[in-house]
Subunit: 207 residues, 2 copies
């Protein structure tokens, strides 16, 4: 993601800090209200900076959103990238599930930001989805396919296996309110989810 243009002068300490503060506030607000639902005033409020000051650091509201999404993409795909063709098939998948669930637990706002964007048809992301994402998934799906053909995991359609991992792990972050409303207090959704998903995927993958 290095952009061209001449002489990118390095960020000053203040720039570094304020850009960070702003992105953090933007994440908070965007993930809660969506892009259109978020206002610069809200973000400024959360960041503790004035609105014109936000626009001193970012050319527009959209620029903040884009920056968040592109940074996010990497974090989000890292666990899948880590799927090792040399490792033990079932354990590799289980590791992926576990890491993905940890992301949901640790970064629910990021998960919701992403979900929001996809829900709205991903206007600012279709390209990335059809490019970077599809390539990575295809690559890993081929590995899964290989394992299935070798009888090392059950013969399930690899793309949908991956979708199921996304769906099940992200559900706990994206639908948090619903999950908690239904479970009531005195529950740790993520702890319970970990055990459940472990069972689910081991049963599914058992050859």
């Amino acid at each position: 993601m290095s952009d061209g243009q001449p002489a990118e002068r390095p960020l000053t300490r203040i720039q570094q800090k304020n850009r960070q503060t702003i992105l953090e506030a933007a994440l908070e607000v965007f993930s809660q209200h969506g892009f259109r639902g978020a206002t610069l005033d809200q973000i400024a409020e959360v960041a503790g900076l004035s609105k014109p000051n936000l626009l001193y650091y970012f050319p527009s509201k959209e620029a903040m959103h884009v920056e968040l999404l592109s940074t996010l993409m990497d974090t989000w795909l890292a666990p899948l990238r880590a799927l090792d063709p040399e490792g033990d098939p079932v354990e590799e998948v289980m590791d992926y599930v576990r890491r993905k669930l940890e992301l949901s637990r640790g970064f629910p706002r990021e998960s919701r930001l992403f979900a929001n964007e996809i829900l709205q048809g991903a206007p600012r992301m279709v390209a990335a989805l059809e490019g970077e994402l599809k390539d990575l998934v295809d690559e890993k799906a081929a590995i899964l396919r290989g394992w299935a053909d070798a009888g090392r995991i059950a013969d399930v359609p690899p793309h949908h296996l991956i979708f199921s991992i996304w769906a099940l792990t992200q559900h706990y972050a994206d639908f948090d309110v619903q999950v908690r409303a239904v479970l009531g207090p005195d529950h740790d959704p993520y702890a319970e989810a970990q055990g459940f998903l472990d069972t689910l995927f081991r049963k599914l993958l058992a050859p």
Copy 2:
């Protein structure tokens, strides 16, 4: 959902038709842009009516949204309501999965409207979630628990089993863009999902 107030005079033919047109347009727009992202002008445009005319039939933008959500709730819960304690355990659950997936396929906009609302913390729905929804889920979870205790299905936490059904079926509607982007053309996501989810849940539930 009968509200009190005196003398509710029956809707005229025109009212019937126009309210329907408006709700249909509102669904289209809300499900695509979320509540705040949707504008009355857009809805009016889609409905083919003037903005003031929308407000002749509904007191406010919010009223349209509320009406959609409360109507939706019933449709959405119907399949779970149909889970029959007297039926064959595995087949009952599989029927639920199938019906839920059909809802996603047939009513993706409704699914996204709902998802949008939950994502934003369900400001207009927490009550329903903690009441109606929780009660229904608790009731059905008890049935599942009974089946598990009787060894008729595997011993999995019933609430999370239900969550997994929601997550997996709704994923195909809510994340449609992503699913299609990753699969590429020449795929019928729902057809493939049906087979995959069938396998997944049969394996999970096998005692």
